[in-house]
Structures are given as structure tokens and as C-alpha cells.
Symmetry: C2
Subunit: 337 residues, 2 copies
Amino acid sequence: VASSGRTTIAVDMLGGDSAPEAVVDAVGLLRGEAGLRLVLVGPADRLPGLLAGRGIDPEGLELLHAPVSVPMDGHPLDAVRRDAQRDEPELTVTAAARAVRDGRADAWVSVGHTGAAVAAAVLSAGRIPGIARPALAVVLPALKRPVVLLDAGASMEASSQVLAQFAVAGWCYARALGIDEPRVGLLSIGSEPGKGDDLRREAEQVLAEKLRAHRIEFAGPVEGDDVVAGLRAQVVVTDGFTGNVLLKGIEGAVAWAVERIARAYGDPDPARRVMREVATGEFAGGMLLGVNATTVVGHGAGSPAQIAACIRLAARAVQHGLIEQVRARFAVTGAST
Amino acid sequence: VASSGRTTIAVDMLGGDSAPEAVVDAVGLLRGEAGLRLVLVGPADRLPGLLAGRGIDPEGLELLHAPVSVPMDGHPLDAVRRDAQRDEPELTVTAAARAVRDGRADAWVSVGHTGAAVAAAVLSAGRIPGIARPALAVVLPALKRPVVLLDAGASMEASSQVLAQFAVAGWCYARALGIDEPRVGLLSIGSEPGKGDDLRREAEQVLAEKLRAHRIEFAGPVEGDDVVAGLRAQVVVTDGFTGNVLLKGIEGAVAWAVERIARAYGDPDPARRVMREVATGEFAGGMLLGVNATTVVGHGAGSPAQIAACIRLAARAVQHGLIEQVRARFAVTGAST
């Protein structure tokens, strides 16, 4: 959108546990990467000093003023809603999302409060028609092939229709990531049909029908361990509550295994190397699907390398035309909400 | 109940992927364990030959005839319901659960179909008054202290009242396992109050109130990774759908980590040793809470050592008077359903 032949990413400089320093360091890691242009969204009076303090050449970096980070205590979502009413936003998330809406950037990235980033994206860029709720899609480094899991926590309650919308959007994302012919599975508690709670039993029918209409292969119900195997499905769909619980559980279990196993070998380095490798690939960030702006939300505790990986992921989605593909899919089927 | 100074466990000899051989081998592993008496529930015409074939001395083993295993295809639950009507049950699960009801055994163990075992326990032994639905409680080898997670898949839908009942029953189980002063957490998607879906927001209030009445410490909402850390809570409560998805996800993630990390070290043995250790401890089986019979349900793919661990777990629960403690807790509070 914004620049000729280059992908422009607006970066929330005040999001995350170690902001702004960790984000500034991520910017440093990305200096000189061809085809990538960054818009740093933060307090204009502090950013030049922060860059200079880390020895980062400001040449070619655009600065966009927004003085305030999302308040982590109190009511972050209320703060975003209030900010969305302002002509001149104060919050970095609002300013970054608007930069995409207004064509100043192709995508935006935040490693701050997830709910606040989702709200900023919805309020500033709007939803894609035909997708009733946004979904956060994460990529897991499954044993066989990577797996896209969504929703990882953007929307708490989902109907079977919403799950079917997530399925189509998640399939588009998997394709944009280069996953060939992804099959879509519905997260449940058994691989036989008819298992699970009421929502899952209904969703099984709705997904089968909708995905057939889209000529997307439906793998049927899959289980929690299929998400880290990647054999039965490469896109796994669930509500944001279950998806978030599962994602955190997987992260915690891997951390558990690394600590316990490293102890058994008496040398933690190889185990930690595997984890570092995983954390700085395409697995670093969540892609927010269903909103009219390419939005990547990363781990608040992310290292500069992980934040840089989020920014690269956003650029990759732009280059693959992810938003356009999702919009086209939902335009074809019309008002399928 | 059944014997003086010894704990008697009825064992479903036809449950599990490698039944009856794996279960027979588990019986072999337990021969000579002081204080443990086994009732083998299976086809009377085949059991003696199976024991002889594995070189197991039948002395002191009681055989209880039931010729048929739960059909895995078709409708296993319907088969259990039909069998529950019979004077002479045909299914091993029904016969084993009745052995406990009738005082012939103190507890029973199956590594067959989970839903069928739950149905057999409910239909043969009945529910404990005050607990509206049964819950499967599993123990996870968390980094800090073991964590009891329930429900891992016995009941698909749960109200906030049911979650509060699970909380009290799970606390009794944690105490029976020797976990000192366990704190109870509600599985959610953030540790701040008021997060999660509608059920969780309501349950937060109900749990706070009920647990206060029981003088049980409530840790508030906890996340998926807290389940494998064990720092914030040692009992984690959720509905059976979410609990089963999380448990499978954790198992899958640990398997993923073992394979990836073992590859990084170039020697899989220490990693596999950790896994074996974990799988044959108290982590091998799920304890069914809320029914009037001590019931342990194990992994269908379990090794003989894991099945033996399930039988030891059942004996341990009997020796700690788990059922009596749960009954007493719910008798005190009266009809809290």
C-alpha cells in the first residue's frame, strides 16, 4: 500500500514487558533488511534518544507520534475504546492500527496486551464482512507439518457459524504461510464423529457443509495432541477460550519437558537451542484474522529476536496478500454470517 | 471393605489396546505385593490359561466371570446401559463396578474405553449425593508440586455449580495423594479476575463462595501453563471438554519436546527415561470422582507397568479413605447442588 516495492510495518514501540528497550532492539536487528520499511509508533520526544542510546541509525525510519501505552491495570479495553473516539489518538495501538487503515503502513505489530491490540484493530480498521468475530491464529511447530491453531484467544464465545468462518480464514493463512493443501480439523475430544460438547457436535455439521462449498478438505474432529503432531490436520479450529488454554498448556508443557529433560542430560544447552529456534521462527506471533488490517500480536515477554520475527511475519503476510485472499473468500460466499 | 487388612482391587482384564495380555502382565508385576489382593474380571474359561501362559501363579488371585469387552465401534455407552439392566452382566466393566458395589472389592480399575468405564461406575455404584456429575481427575507431574486437573473428560458440559463441586472433590483427592494444603484454581485465560468466557466469570464467584465455606484456599483463575508449573494452584478445575483438550495437548507437547530435544542431544535414552518415570508414577491413571466406588481409568495404550501403577493408585485411594472423605464433605454442606 504505502511504498513502492517495499513492505511498511507500523510497530507499537510501547507494547510488551520490556518496552520500549526490547522493541528498539528488535528494530536494530531488522536494520538493513531489504524490502522492509518500519514506522515506529511511540512518543516522538523519546524515540530518537532511545535509538541513539542503542546505536541505531535513524536513517529511513519513520516516527509516528503516540505518547501513551495501554494501561495494564484498570481497564485496558475501555482505554482503547475511549482512544478510538479521539481525532489524535494517544495510545500507540490505536495510532499503529490507524496507520494501516490510512495507508501509511501495510501491517502493524504489537507485543503488548492482546485484548487491547484486538480492540484497536477492530475499532480502527473494522471487520472483514462475513466474519462475525476476529480470531488470533498461531502457528505451532508440529512434528510432521506446521499447524495453524485458531482462535488462540481473540473471541471468548463462538457459535458453530463463527467456527466455520475461522476455518476458512485459517485455511487462507495456512496457504499464505506456504502450507500446501492444508486440511482443516475441528478441535474436540475424540476423532470419531459426534463426540464433544453441544457446540462441537453442531459445528461438525456446519464445518463439513461450509468447507465442502469452499472445496477445502475437512479432517473432522481432532484432539489436543493432534495439534502438536500435525498429521491429521494443518489448521485446527476452536473457540478462543479453549484455544488459549490449549496454547498456554502446550507452551507450559514444552517448558516443563525442556527443564526435566535437560536435567537428565546434565547439559541444558542443546534443549535451550531447540526452544530458541522455535521461538524465533514463524511461531513467534499470532496473526489476527477477520480484521481489515494485517495485525500481528506477539508475546509480551518476547525477546528482541522474537519481536523481530513478528515483524517479519507481518511482512510475509502482506507479501502473500493474506488480507485480500480472506476478503475474496468471504466476498464469494456472500453474507454467510 | 472386602478383606481384613488387605486392599482388594477388581481389574477389568479386557480393557485397553493390548488386552488381555498387557493387563495379565500388569497382574504379574503386582504378584507378591503386600496388602494387595486382585479380583480378575474376565472370561473364566480363558483367564487361567492366560495366567499360565505368562507363568503367573494363580494362587490367591480371585477370578470373576464376565465374558465380553466393551465394543469399541458402534455405541459403547448403549452397550453399557443395556448391560446394567442384566442380572448377570456380560461386560467386564459392569461386573467390576458391581464387585465394588457389592463389597467384593474396594476399588476397580479399567484401561478400556473411558466413557464406558464412567457409565459403568455411575450405573452400578451411583453418584455421591451432592455431586451432580462425575469428574475424571488426573495428576500431572508439575515442576513445583504435582497438580490435580479435573475434569479430564468424564462430563462434557458443566455449570458453575458443578465446577464448584469438582473443586471440593478434587481438593479431597489432592489431600489423599499427600499434597499438603492444596490451593484450588479455576482454569481460565488470564490470572486477573473477570477474564474468560461466561461460564468462567460466573464460576469465579461461585467457587470463591463455596470454597470459603469449606475453608479451602481459592487461588482464583489460573492459565494453561500454570497446570504444568504447579506454583499457583495444586488443584485446577475445568469442564470435561476443556480439560480433555488440555490434557491431550500437554501429552502431545511433551512427546513433541522429547522427540525434538532427544534429536538435539543425539541420544534419546535419557529423555525416554524421564518419560517412563513419569508415566508409571501416580500420573498413570485418572481417578473418577463423584461416584460411590473408587474407580481408576487408565490409558488404553498403557504398558503393563502403567496398568500396574493404576492398580496401585486405586489401592492408595482406598487406604486414604478418599470416597469416605468426599462423601463426608458433601454430607456436611447438604444439598449444595
